[in-house]
């Protein structure tokens, strides 16, 4: 206890110096925490957005389909695959999809479109498609009528001049090489002009399978896991379970984005390292100076029989105490900011395209990692910085030191 008291008194004796050093430590903590929070949060938010928009956490395809998407490269007996996936404990959503390009005709105009066959109920367990409906109703809510229902992206609605209640003709090519064509009724319009699916027609899974002559086969199964952090591990496990299929986590599906994110993180780490380095030098400077200034005092302590080890301990204790107090202040200052960014954040006027994924929101992340990682980092560096001056203090020769003013 005596050491604690001593260290505390020493800090208070030179309030100005303690406060100034404290400010640089608190400032360093504030900056690092805020930056880490923004980096983690913005990317976390982006990943959440695109996995919820269409990608899901893990996808299954027939081999080579991702590179060369032939209509014939399908996952056969898909209902069995889907039900076995649904029984897995860590999978919370399974969405089978059929994909193809086709030409869409409205009353007068035509346009090339992407056709996606979905099971409305299952799709909603993986993506937010249901929430994206802006006009009309969601696909699986359509009552059975004479025409097969379809949902279209806003881009198609504008390009073809059609909307809810209008007819839509699709012409494409079936898996067997036949010309596919059919009439559908638009029951809903999804998304906005910037959505990735603005030129997509959503059909009921069975209708799309019939359109492309696919029977029970699908092209893609998207999965949502209970924890996105497990995506890579889960994909590996599933690959064992389904050796005939290609299982890829989102990091592979959106590899360009993932690469960009990793590279950007490298750059950010570098920047954070530099800030820590500067805080480091600042703290070293003050601690060293405060020790040099107190040479006489340490000499007296030594003369009275204080052991060198105790002096090292004392200097280290002072520094760590100061750093802790400064971090507490920094925490108080940064917490509201991080909290606000986590819960509100702000949106960019013009989203930035990063490897095909829109970066649209600045968001923070509030987690133990964000708050404690910088804390540990700074405490440890403060401790390390205090050792050489402490050692210097411990080695003073009392006779010489006491001559020192």
């Amino acid at each position: 206890m005596l050491e604690l008291q001593l260290a505390w008194r020493n800090l208070l004796r030179q309030k100005r110096r303690s406060i100034l050093t404290g400010i640089s430590i608190a400032g360093g903590y504030f900056l690092i925490t805020f930056a880490v929070s923004l980096i983690e949060g913005s990317y976390g938010n982006m990943i959440e957005i695109f996995t919820r928009d269409r990608v899901g956490h893990v996808q299954l395809h027939a081999p080579d389909y991702r590179v060369q998407p032939r209509t014939q490269r399908v996952i056969r007996e898909s209902s069995q695959v889907v039900s076995s996936l649904q029984s897995a404990p860590n999978i919370v959503g399974v969405a089978p999809r059929v994909l193809s390009a086709a030409l869409a005709y409205g009353e007068e105009k035509s346009s090339p479109v992407q056709v996606v066959g979905i099971d409305g109920q299952l799709e909603a367990s993986v993506t937010h498609l249901r929430e994206k409906v802006t006009e009309g109703i969601y696909l699986s809510e359509a009552v059975a009528g004479p025409n097969t229902p379809a949902m279209i992206g806003l881009g198609i609605s504008r390009a073809l001049g059609i909307s809810v209640g209008d007819g839509l003709v699709l012409i494409g090519q079936g898996a067997d090489g036949s010309i596919a064509n059919d009439l559908y009724e638009v029951v809903g319009v999804v998304g906005n002009e910037k959505s990735s699916d603005r030129m997509t027609v959503y059909l009921p899974l069975s209708a799309a399978q019939a359109f492309l002559a696919l029977d029970d086969a699908v092209h893609q199964i998207a999965l949502r896991l209970d924890d996105i952090g497990d995506a890579s591990a889960a994909a590996e496990d599933l690959q064992q379970q389904f050796p005939n299929l290609e299982v890829s986590p989102w990091q592979v599906i959106e590899s360009t984005f993932y690469q960009t994110m990793q590279a950007d993180r490298e750059g950010n780490k570098f920047g954070l390292g530099l800030i820590i380095f500067l805080v480091f030098i600042g703290v070293l400077n003050t601690v060293l100076m405060s020790v040099l200034e107190r040479t006489r005092e340490f000499g007296v302590l030594r003369a009275m029989g204080c052991r060198p080890g105790k002096l090292v301990q004392l200097v280290a204790l002072e520094t760590v105490m100061l750093a802790s107090a400064a971090i507490a202040v920094g925490l108080l200052a940064v917490f509201p900011l991080v909290y606000w960014f986590t819960n509100v954040g702000f949106e960019l006027a013009d989203p930035i395209d990063m490897g095909g994924v829109a970066f649209s929101h600045y968001r923070g992340m509030l987690s133990a990692y964000v708050l404690f990682m910088p804390m540990t980092l700074i405490l440890v560096s403060a401790l390390v910085v205090s050792l050489p001056p402490g050692w210097r203090a411990a080695r003073v020769r009392p006779v010489e030191a006491m001559r020192h003013y």
Partner: protein, 405 residues
């Protein structure tokens, strides 16, 4: 000159402290200069690759065309525009393009794409289509088609293979189909280009769309690129009307503009943070040196030195430290910057805003970066020295001269 000598001696008296403070200032300066170089490097790279690849420095197009790339919004009165462009002093080169969404079908697969009708001769001076060609020859015949390498992979086609292009004509709204042969494969880099662009002959595209002499965009390169973003460029005024829009690249690519703005903002924040840390270090170190000399100051004051003389001495000392740091920092920054300009800094490949940023980023070092950062550092050091200088000037001899343990 006495004061200069005194300041020097004072600094040299505690070389360790002076060295540490200078190290802090030097690091801040070096980091600032190099970071700035990096940011300029990345911004230039982005703007260059954006304007050089395909988009040009400015475009003339039908009002509203760029919102949805609706092919029915084309410029039909093109003859006067061509004359204006050909005669304008600022314009170095221009090219005309026709654009339409279409479906490409090979024997194996079908893909929705964006078709560009281009004039090969004109494009040479405007875009990098020629440089992006990795296989085959440029477009010379009406049946030639160039496409991105990943699109070619998806369609499973190579040089000389047949490909059917289906789209709807603008006038008459008829479905038009035409057979093309793959005459070349392109690699621009960004996946969004290589994935979904195909190029055909300008006249062939006009014929398919039945738009006569119409054009969707004039893409312009200027003699001096900086002029492109002048809102009141005479060229823009001459061609703008109810139907025709003309804009520089900054307006055409708001997300790049937003990003450049953000980079500028980031630079400011970084500068403030760095110098805040440096300033705290300087204040701390000056105070330390004042405390150490309290007795001395008290004595000099007691024998008649004026307060402002002491203040001046303190400011001069910090100025000397700043100058020394700038001298060393500029040298270090120059050599490190020079090395990085040659070798680049490896972070990993990124794709941002539709631009591929290569694995190794090279900074662009400008004389301004050195000057601005140096002035900033010197000014800031002087400013932060004022507070301790004031403190030193106001020392009361009677109190300071009392010595304690």
């Amino acid at each position: 000159m006495l004061i200069l000598k005194l300041a020097f001696r004072n600094l040299l008296r505690n070389t360790r402290r002076t060295a540490l403070t200078c190290l802090l200032l030097t690091s801040a300066l070096v980091i600032m200069i190099l970071m700035d170089g990096m940011m300029v490097g990345v911004s230039r790279l982005m703007v260059d690759s954006l304007t050089d690849t395909l988009e040009g420095e400015a475009q003339i197009y039908h009002q509203g065309f760029r919102e949805r790339f609706d092919p029915s919004l084309y410029l039909d009165n093109t003859v006067p525009l061509r004359e204006v462009l050909a005669l304008d002093q600022d314009v170095r080169a221009f090219s005309e393009r026709v654009m339409t969404p279409a479906m490409l079908a090979s024997s194996y697969a079908t893909q929705g794409v964006m078709i560009y009708g281009i004039d090969h001769e004109q494009e040479k001076a405007v875009s990098r289509i020629r440089e992006a060609q990795v296989e085959g020859s440029p477009i010379t015949k009406g049946s030639d088609l160039l496409l991105g390498d990943s699109l070619a992979e998806k369609l499973e086609v190579g040089l000389g293979d047949r490909i059917v292009l289906t789209t709807s004509s603008v006038e008459g709204n008829e479905l038009v189909q035409r057979l093309f042969r793959v005459s070349g494969v392109l690699n621009f880099g960004p996946s969004e280009l290589d994935d979904r662009l195909a190029f055909i002959d300008l006249e062939a595209a006009r014929e398919m769309l039945m738009i006569g002499d119409g054009t969707h965009q004039f893409v312009i390169r200027f003699e001096n690129r900086d002029r492109a973003n002048e809102a009141d460029l005479p060229l823009y005024d001459r061609v703008r009307n109810d139907q025709t829009a003309a804009e520089g690249w900054l307006k055409l690519q708001p997300s790049i503009g937003g990003m450049l703005e953000m980079t500028g903002f980031g630079r400011l924040i970084l500068g403030l943070v760095l110098f805040l840390l440096a300033a705290l270090g300087v204040v701390n170190s000056i105070f330390m040196s004042i405390y150490e000399r309290l007795y001395e100051f008290a004595v000099t004051k007691a024998i008649g030195t004026r307060p402002w003389w002491i203040g001046r001495l303190i400011v001069l000392e910090s100025l000397l430290m700043a100058l020394a740091s700038v001298a060393i920092g500029v040298l270090i920054a120059y050599f490190v910057g020079d090395y990085l300009e040659r070798e680049g800094l490896g972070l990993g490949q990124m794709e941002v805003g539709g631009v591929v940023i290569p694995e190794r980023i090279r900074p662009v070092m400008l004389i301004n970066q050195f000057l601005e950062a140096s002035w900033f550092l010197i000014g800031l050091t002087l400013l932060t020295a004022l507070y301790p200088a004031l403190y030193a000037a106001k020392i009361t001899p009677a109190e300071a001269i009392k010595r304690s343990l």
